[in-house]
């Protein structure tokens, strides 16, 4: 199953009344959506409110989502419209330099956002980055290779198994163990955010 298939499956579950599936979609895309909105509003607290409104609108409209586009592309458009409407409602002018929808999947917001997040959020972000990097460095070689091939190079389990000359089940286990090791490092940082 591709990422889009996973999202579509989650959407169908939401349409059948599974709230947890929507929670997973929110948790998956909240950072990217927040980044897109923050680009328009330039205010992190305000961006969180608009992100909440964006996901609520998406939830209400999910009955009409047929999967013609990727879920993230669809939510991205809602986010941009919600942010612009928010600015207009406040008598502020929306910026004209939209991020193209095609670029939205790869939008990382780094250039615009580093100096716009609150100092607390910036500190938290740096702390998480530092811990992720340290945790990856401390991983045994086979776990570090597996998680890097998956997350950085985007290889499938089958391709990683071929590269590392091991069964797919081993790849799956190594990636999970690597994630767990990293998660143990960042979990305390996110507990009260």
């Amino acid at each position: 199953m591709s990422e889009r298939d996973v999202d579509q499956q989650l959407v169908e579950r939401v349409q059948r009344g599974d709230m947890a599936a929507f929670d997973l979609l929110v948790r998956k895309y909240q950072h990217r959506i927040l980044a897109v909105i923050n680009r328009y509003l330039n205010d992190f607290a305000e961006a969180q409110d608009v992100a909440q409104e964006t996901f609520l609108r998406a939830y209400r409209a999910l009955g009409n989502f047929r999967g013609d586009s990727a879920f993230y592309t669809w939510v991205y458009k809602i986010a941009v419209n919600t942010a612009k409407n928010h600015l207009v409602a406040q008598g502020r002018r929306p910026p004209t330099d939209d991020v193209a929808v095609d670029d939205a999947m790869h939008f990382n917001g780094e250039s615009q956002l580093k100096d716009r997040a609150t100092p607390e959020n910036e500190l938290l972000r740096q702390e998480i980055e530092r811990n992720v990097t340290a945790a990856v460095d401390e991983l045994p070689e086979e776990l570090r290779t597996a998680i890097t091939l998956r997350e950085v190079d985007g290889l499938s389990y089958e391709e990683i198994a071929e590269v590392m000359s091991c069964p797919i089940g081993t790849v799956r286990s190594r990636i999970f163990r690597a994630r767990e090791a990293i998660d143990r490092r960042i979990r305390p940082l996110l507990s009260d955010s």
Binding site: M1, S2, E3, Q9, R13, Q15, R16, M19, A20, D23, L24, V26, R27, K28, Q30, H31, R32, L34, A35, N38, Q48, Q52, F55, L56, Y59, A61, G63, R66, N108, G109, E110, L113, K114, A117, N121, L124, R125, I128, A135, V136, E138, L139, P140, T148, R150, E151, V152, Y157, R172, S173, I175, F176, R177, R179, E180, D183, I186, R187, L190, S191
Partner: protein, 204 residues
């Protein structure tokens, strides 16, 4: 760092779900578990965050657990979104088909031959049309048309019998014509005679 710890198969399934590598049956099982396990859903969010960090999306602001929790609380108060209605999609297809049918019928009616009309449209069905020479020769046309100045490169492919020759003064000599016809043969389509009727068997 030690990696030896209790191996939870559900958490490993969650990791595979993040990568889109979990089969449908196990996904369905895991989703049922996720419905009632907020900690597992939070873990899913952290796995995504780790992926974002490793993929270089380091500039993303960290939403943390708070935003997702607030959204979940708001969503719980909303009515169910429902699925796209099949009849709505069917209706859209039907409307598109109906429009296309009307356009096709209109076009068919418009191009019907008009009885008594002129030209080919007035030709009776079955009546043969023939192509006859107009009798106009290229030299006749050339006398009436200016020889347009063309570059050597443009004139090369036209070195046949009727190829125009470069003539820089032609612009001054040439009368102003509404259109510039190319130098070539011209044919005119005219309706042909009706097919001959079969001879009566009078000789018998």
């Amino acid at each position: 760092m030690t990696t030896e710890h209790a191996h939870d198969p559900v958490q490993e399934d969650l990791s595979a779900l993040v990568d889109g590598e979990l089969d449908r049956n196990r996904t369905a099982f895991l989703m049922r578990r996720l419905e009632h396990d907020a900690a597992l859903r939070a873990r899913f969010g952290r796995y995504q965050l780790v992926g974002d960090c490793l993929r270089g999306r380091s500039g993303l602001p960290v939403a943390g657990d708070g935003l997702a929790t607030r959204i979940a609380r708001e969503v719980a108060a909303e009515p169910r979104p429902g699925r796209p209605l099949p009849w709505r999609t069917g209706l859209q297809w039907a409307a598109g088909f109906f429009t296309a049918a009307i356009v096709a019928a209109g076009a068919f009616w418009y191009v019907q031959p008009v009885p008594g009309g002129e030209g080919l449209a007035g030709t009776a069905p079955g009546q043969a049309s023939s192509v006859a020479s107009s009798g106009v020769r290229a030299d006749d046309l050339r006398r009436q048309l200016p020889l347009l100045p063309v570059s050597a490169r443009q004139s090369q492919p036209l070195h046949g019998q009727f190829a125009p020759r470069p003539d820089p003064e032609a612009w001054q000599r040439a009368p102003v014509l509404p259109t510039q016809l190319p130098s070539t043969h011209y044919i005119i389509l005219v309706p042909g005679p009706a097919p001959a009727a079969p001879a009566p068997e009078a000789s018998r």
